[in-house]
C-alpha cells in the first residue's frame, strides 16, 4: 500500500517536472514561458519531497523533517524570483505576443489604424530610453 502511494507520488512529481521543462522549451514568448517552470517547482518538486518524507519517515525510526525545510524554502522563493524575472524582462522590453493595452483599444477601429500607430509606440520607447 505504502509502496503504491510512494510510486504514484514519485511518478506524479517526475511528470510535472518534465511538463514544466517542456513548457519552458516549447512555449512561444517569454511571459508564457515564465508560467511553465512554476508548475515544476510547486507540484513536481513538492510531491517528490512529500514522497521522500513519507519514505524516510517509515524507513527510519523518527519523522524526517529535512524535506519540509526544502519545500518551505522553494515555495517562498519561487514567486520572488518569478517576479524579479518578469521585472527584468519588462525593463529590457522583451517581445510579447500579447498586444500593448493602448494598441488593443485602438484595434477596434481596424488593423490599418493599428499599423499606423506602431511607429509612434516605437518612438515612445525611444523617448523612454533617452
Amino acid at each position: 500500500m505504502l509502496d503504491l502511494v510512494l510510486s504514484l507520488l514519485i511518478l506524479a512529481g517526475a511528470t510535472f517536472t518534465f511538463i514544466g521543462s517542456l513548457g519552458l522549451a516549447r512555449l512561444q514568448d517569454f511571459y508564457t514561458r515564465l508560467h511553465g517552470p512554476t508548475k515544476a517547482t510547486t507540484l513536481g518538486v513538492g510531491s517528490l519531497l512529500i514522497a521522500s518524507a513519507l519514505y524516510f519517515s517509515t524507513r527510519g525510526e523518527s519523522i524526517s523533517l529535512h524535506e519540509v525545510l526544502v519545500t518551505l524554502f522553494l515555495f517562498i522563493t519561487a514567486p520572488a524570483s518569478a517576479h524579479l524575472l518578469s521585472k527584468a524582462a519588462l525593463h529590457l522590453h522583451v517581445r510579447s505576443l500579447a498586444p500593448l493595452p493602448q494598441e488593443s483599444a485602438i484595434a477596434d477601429e481596424g488593423s490599418a489604424q493599428r499599423q499606423k500607430d506602431s511607429p509612434s509606440a516605437e518612438s515612445n520607447k525611444l523617448f523612454l530610453k533617452t
Partner: protein
Amino acid sequence: MLMNIALPIALTLVAAAFALSFWRLLIGPSKPDRILALDTLYINAIALLVLLGIHLSSALYFEAALLIALMGFVGTVALCKYLLRGDIIE
C-alpha cells in the same frame, strides 16, 4: 517492489527535463530566457537529488538539495538585479 519500476521512469523523466531546459539555455533568444532556464535547471537538480536520495536510501542528500536551493535563488536574484540596475550591490 513497485518502486523499482517507478524510480527508473522518474529518473528518465527528470533527465529529459534537464535536456529540455538546457536546450532553452542554449537557444534562449533573450537574457531573461537564459536566467529562467538556469532557474529551472536548479529546480531539476533538486528533484534529481531527492530521487537519488530515495534510490540510495540515504538521507545525506537533503543538505545538498537545500544548499542548491539557497544558492540558486541567490544567483537568480543577482542576475535579475544586474539586468534591472546594471549593478548588483549599489
